[in-house]
């Protein structure tokens, strides 16, 4: 019997698959020189939920994240965002798709030559009002231009964002170098939120933070996900945070997703490595399982060659008609 309020995995046979899954990754492979990092990743990101990808250092979690936004192209495989395959998209198509995303980087990636206010309003200066009518103008055949904010409107938005994320107004004129790690992450999140994204990506958001700041950032991510109804994808190896806020967890090991499901389902895993990974921190209690029932996953050789033959490489993917 599911717990009250617990998210249920969508029915695979449901006709409204795209409604349930915001992003669907199928069989992506990626090599960097001699290193074969992703070896056929299949991953589903549930719409409107907090999806956490866990895995050890150097396993390719950030590589998956960069693929989701089109910052990297897979050697093979497909990535569907809202039902559209983003792999064959051109730079212009990718920029259109990226407007659905917001991203919080591990160290916030704030522009260090800009003040906090300038950082927060930067996407607004570049793209204008995200609520503007973007429908096709029949007279030009192109999307209508977004309304531009005035300086005063943008300042007010920055003030509101700082308020929402419990940051003092005195930070407005400060520069990123003058902020603490937690403050930087909040400003980074404020910058990601101003464009009202549908999908928010977090790259190890609690790394390097003290336990109190970690809990604050966790609460912030949960609040943002619920209040703004956004799909969250979090990369983490912080097990306490993962099981505290995650609706769905996927475990990456040896370049493939070895387990996916709700936190309760992941706790029942029989994968030996995953049990060690979750259990070592002591933050999560796992049920006892007989040693002989455990699945031992061998870590593949990093230099092993990717599979040969089509479909492989970008040139095999048909480009969309313009």
């Amino acid at each position: 019997m599911p717990m009250e309020g617990q998210w249920q995995p969508p029915d695979e046979d449901a006709s409204s698959e795209n409604e349930a899954w915001h992003i669907r990754v199928r069989n992506i492979h990626k090599t960097f020189g001699p290193h074969y990092v992703l070896r056929g990743v299949d991953l589903d990101i549930a719409r409107g939920k907090i999806n956490v990808i866990i895995g050890g250092s150097g396993q390719g979690k950030s590589v998956i994240m960069k693929h989701l936004m089109g910052l990297l192209k897979p050697d093979q495989g497909s990535i569907h965002v809202d039902g559209e395959d983003i792999v064959p998209l051109s730079d212009v198509g990718l920029n259109r798709m990226r407007k659905k995303f917001g991203m919080l980087f591990q160290y916030a990636a704030l522009f260090d030559s800009m003040s906090v206010e300038e950082n927060i309003i930067f996407p607004l200066v570049e793209h204008g009002d995200p609520d503007s009518d973007q429908s096709i103008d029949p007279s030009t055949g192109k999307p209508r231009k977004r309304r531009r904010y005035t300086r005063a409107e943008m300042h007010q938005i920055a003030v509101d964002q700082l308020d929402k994320l419990a940051l003092p107004q005195v930070l407005m004129k400060k520069f990123p170098a003058e902020l603490s790690g937690g403050q930087r992450k909040r400003v980074g999140l404020a910058r990601a939120l101003v464009m009202k994204p549908e999908i928010l990506l977090y790259d190890e958001p609690t790394t390097g933070l003290d336990p109190v700041s970690t809990k604050n950032v966790d609460d912030m991510m949960r609040d943002v996900s619920r209040e703004h109804q956004v799909t969250s994808v979090i990369i983490s190896h912080d097990m306490a945070s993962t099981f505290r806020i995650g609706d769905r967890i996927s475990a990456l090991y040896g370049g493939v997703i070895i387990a996916s499901g709700t936190p309760e389902e992941i706790k029942q895993t029989r994968h030996k490595w995953l049990r060690e990974f979750i259990g070592t921190s002591g933050a999560v209690q796992l049920p006892d399982i007989d040693e002989k029932d455990l699945i031992v996953d061998d870590l593949p050789d990093a230099a092993q060659s990717p599979p040969k033959g089509p479909p492989h490489g970008r040139k095999n993917i048909p480009r969309p008609r313009r």
């Binding site: 960069k66 936004m69 910052l71 730079d91 920029n95 259109r96 990226r98 407007k99 995303f101 917001g102 991203m103 980087f105 591990q106 160290y107 990636a109 704030l110 522009f111 260090d112 030559s113 930067f122 996407p123 570049e126 793209h127 464009m195 990506l201």
Partner: protein
């Protein structure tokens, strides 16, 4: 037996040469591709005028004091050397003309480009390298902003516009320095200095310098941006990118200078009969 040994020697000698050649082709190709991308993104909206003006101020206005100071002393030292050398042939009257020719054709574009690549080029490589390793460039891409269009296009345009403008100022201030030394210190006749300079110098000389400065301005910003944009490996990587940017710019400017001069003399000066 000896044939095999000879083949081995040839192979050992050729391998590093081929490696250098491959590296050279790869580097030139990468910069040409970057230039193509810059042109492609330059033609697409939006035109970020504020960012462009900021880049022009950084490349041009902020480099101006050092460029002017150097030009004054380059003109002065050339006048001093030539006064001394030409005195042997009783040809001191040609100091102004010779300095003017050297400045407009060679010294102004080359020195301006070298100063700008040492100051602004190094600054660009460091800034972009630092943005790369702190994921600020990735952050731009995640905000649906093409980093190349936002970061590199304005810098390359700024370099291409500002270096020729500064080279022209270099000419003026350099000639002023030469005039002071030749006329006031070496006692060359004022009228003769000016008359000979006007007689020998023409628009072709100034245009040659202008075209060179334009090419150097574009090339040095491309090299700096390419090094910074593709930096990796933390703080050390940024340092390496900056060093490569400065050294690469110096070498490229001097090598290009020779070929541009050759092309100009062949296709413009001699073809035009001047």
């Amino acid at each position: 037996m000896w044939l095999e040994r000879l083949a081995g020697w040839v192979d050992r000698l050729w391998r590093p040469v081929l490696r250098v050649l491959a590296l050279l082709i790869e580097t030139v190709g990468a910069h040409l591709l970057l230039l193509l991308n810059v042109v492609r993104w330059m033609l697409r909206p939006p035109l970020r005028l504020g960012v462009l003006i900021e880049a022009m101020v950084f490349v041009g206005f902020e480099s101006l004091p050092i460029v002017l100071l150097i030009s004054l002393f380059v003109g002065a030292v050339f006048a001093l050397q030539l006064s001394s050398a030409l005195r042997t042939f009783q040809a001191q009257a040609y100091v102004g003309a010779t300095v003017g020719l050297a400045l407009s054709r060679e010294l102004a574009p080359v020195f301006t480009a070298i100063v700008v690549s040492a100051r602004a080029g190094a600054g660009m490589a460091t800034e972009l390298g630092s943005m790369r390793i702190t994921e600020q460039i990735d952050a731009l891409a995640t905000m649906a902003i093409n980093p190349l269009q936002y970061l590199i296009v304005p810098r390359v345009i700024a370099g291409t516009i500002m270096v020729p403008m500064m080279a022209m100022l270099f000419n003026c201030v350099g000639m002023f320095g030469a005039y002071i030394v030749a006329v006031e210190v070496q006692n060359v006749d004022r009228g003769v200095f000016i008359a000979n300079a006007r007689w020998l110098l023409d628009a072709n000389d100034l245009t040659q310098g202008l075209v060179k400065a334009l090419v150097f301005g574009c090339v040095l910003t491309l090299i700096a941006c390419n090094q910074g944009y593709n930096a990796g490996g933390g703080a050390k990587g940024v340092g390496v990118a900056t060093t490569r940017s400065v050294v690469g710019s110096f070498v490229t400017i001097l090598v290009l200078d020779y070929f541009l001069t050759d092309l100009w003399l062949t296709f413009v000066t001699h073809a035009g009969g001047s």
